[in-house]
Symmetry: D2
Subunit: 141 residues, 4 copies
């Protein structure tokens, strides 16, 4: 049984806003960093920083965040990611952000398979889809 | 009949990511800037940058974004904001981002009334609530 | 005689930090946006967002900022750019940031000509160098 | 003999720009985070996120960066900080950024003592100044 994926961020001065809390936009930045690290683990060889190397990639199509509690300077945020629903050409990544056992935010993002050569949506490759479905069952189980 | 509120952003080099599109996180930054300008118009005297001056404020509690099309360097993005649902202690701001007549994203955010003195949620002041409900009817009409 | 180049930014909530002033890092972001707009005017066809289209480009090699006064939410900052020293393969862009007649910061950046095909520094093309030297004389005059 | 101070950052997707390198502005963000952590070590009790708690603070008055080599996605950057010159009411923090043994940038920032109650520059407290001078000698040694 696999360990749940956890990405960690320590809140920087530059992540705060004039309210002196973690800015609401930066939660989405943390989720971006977590999601990319999670995808690198699920789909080795996928590099978001060199998209031309392969034809297949993902488009970030939708996101949702529920903010649960404020986060402060220098706190360590754990961003737990798991695979939610898996469809033919898209899948959902769910996340929870916690500081210790305090829930700070939860939400999800939808990723859609995309053929960067042809510039259109495409089905998930079979091997990746099988991997995602196995992850989704682990997360649900 | 009032004009719909429009906030404009010209896409900066620093708003792009390695895919050379407007980064998905920056859409939420644009919505933040638009929402704050919209609120200043609806509730003059409300300043997000000096929250201690008054007791009443808002917490950004939830957001949702549907990404519809990529946005490029130096394009001018129009962020149209309107009031959606209004409840006793919270209300929803809906947004659409467009470049010319191309829809780029749409979504919403929930704002919850908050008493910064007592540090708890509070009902919207009656005058503000009436103003928001009038705006919501205009938007729906 | 040419007008000096001015780029304008209105300070966004997201540009503030926990001190409720324009964050020191964002001054450099403003200079980046100003510099790129200035270069597009001096060297039409140069696009920082699609660097592969041509072989010739620039590397940002050095910067300096003197912070002169704090900047607040919603103030309009004028970033004035001019060409300073011009060398065989590099040139300096000087900047001043002002809100009304209040000086907020001044500084400069060095740009070095770069051959992205060969991945090495290269001399400035003659036409660009002549243009930069004419600008530098205007600025000095 | 004290160890030199090192702050570490792993390059995030959101730290890249359209050139697919660490954006030049983000170098200054990394230095900000490193400097704040360094100051917390030198001056415990100094919190940049709650400036009102004490009267004494610092203003970031000047910075300089020499960019030496590009930095890529997911690389770990070590930001080494040391105290340079110490004056009556100001001091310089020098930094070097390295990935392994590759020098990526070097530069410095000047911090000026500031009385937030009186809103004017002030001399460094004697204890802090002694500590900074000891650090400066260690760095020079």
């Amino acid at each position: 049984m696999s360990e749940p994926f956890v990405h960690r961020e320590r809140v920087r001065f530059g992540d705060l806003d004039a309210m002196r809390h973690l800015n609401n936009v930066v939660y989405l930045r943390y989720f971006e960093s977590a999601r990319i690290a999670f995808m690198s683990q699920l789909s080795p060889g996928h590099s978001p920083a060199n998209p031309e190397r392969g034809d297949f990639g993902f488009i970030f199509a939708e996101c949702h965040i529920n903010y649960r509690s404020p986060v402060h300077f220098d706190e360590e945020v754990e961003v737990r990611c798991s695979v939610g629903e898996v469809r033919r050409s898209a899948f959902r990544i769910d996340f929870r952000m916690e500081v210790g056992d305090r829930l700070c935010a939860e939400g999800y993002g939808w990723l859609v398979g995309f053929d960067y050569g042809a510039e259109r949506a495409m089905q998930l490759p079979g091997e990746l889809r099988a991997r995602l479905e196995a992850e989704a069952q682990t997360a649900a189980g």
